[in-house]
């Protein structure tokens, strides 16, 4: 599992941080994200940190509900400790057995 507690972030330094774990087929990534961070950034950061293969698109989901990349963490109602899944969209490529 890739875990990172300190990393440069975009946005207001006073943003409240939310610890999220993003579970992919190539491992899990746990990080403290600013709550005003867009989920698109969460996706891109996870793809980068875990070196996920494929061009996407990537589908971020919580409890069976697909989350819009345009939403912020706060708008999506995500809470500290939430576990999200990130998978390649069916019909697209990415994150196969390597």
């Amino acid at each position: 599992m890739a875990t990172e507690q300190q990393a440069p972030e975009q946005g207001d330094k006073n943003d409240k941080k939310v610890t999220l774990t993003i579970s992919t087929l190539s491992g899990d990534y746990t990080h403290d994200f600013p709550e005003h961070q867009k989920l698109q950034v969460v996706i891109e950061q996870t793809v980068d940190k875990l070196e996920l293969q494929g061009d996407g698109p990537w589908i971020l989901e919580k409890d069976g509900v697909e989350l819009s990349p345009e939403q912020t963490i706060e708008q999506a109602g995500l809470k500290d400790g939430d576990v999200l899944t990130l998978n390649p969209q069916e019909g697209g490529g990415g994150s196969e057995r390597r």
Partner: protein, 136 residues
């Protein structure tokens, strides 16, 4: 395929799945994993949850057969509907690549071309995605 080889591969892949956060604190649940059957409970946007049995005899020479089951593990009469769930020449099933039902129906798209290239975890993720877009 030698059943002991299929079981060893099944057990290894299930062990790796159990370590993933989606199955540890996430909303996906491994209900049971006794070769050849992996039963996973998956969430639907409606709030409903369904159990799916991935029958992995002959894994990974053959893809798993995927059926929705009840808490006793018996195939449900009411399988999911909508999306890619439909009548196939092997009965009602998920018409999506990497299921035994799909490859039996679409013989022009054989599983053998994917042999060794698709993990069980990837197939579970695929079924979760299609279930999300089906009727609960």
């Amino acid at each position: 395929m030698d059943p002991s080889v299929a079981k060893a591969l099944f057990d290894d892949e299930v062990e790796a799945m159990r370590a993933a956060a989606r199955f540890k604190g996430g909303s996906w649940t491994i209900v049971s994993a006794e070769f050849p059957d992996l039963v996973v409970e998956l969430p639907h946007p409606s709030g409903a949850r369904r159990r799916f049995r991935f029958r992995c005899d002959d894994w990974d020479e053959m893809p798993p057969s995927v059926k929705s089951v009840d808490i006793a593990g018996s195939e449900l009469t009411q399988q999911p509907t909508g999306g890619k769930w439909m009548g196939l020449n092997t009965g009602w099933g998920l018409c999506a690549q990497w299921t035994r039902e799909y490859h039996a129906h679409h013989t022009e798209d054989p599983w053998s071309s994917r042999l060794g290239g698709v993990s069980l975890a990837r197939i579970v993720a695929s079924v979760a995605s299609y279930y999300r877009r089906a009727d609960a």
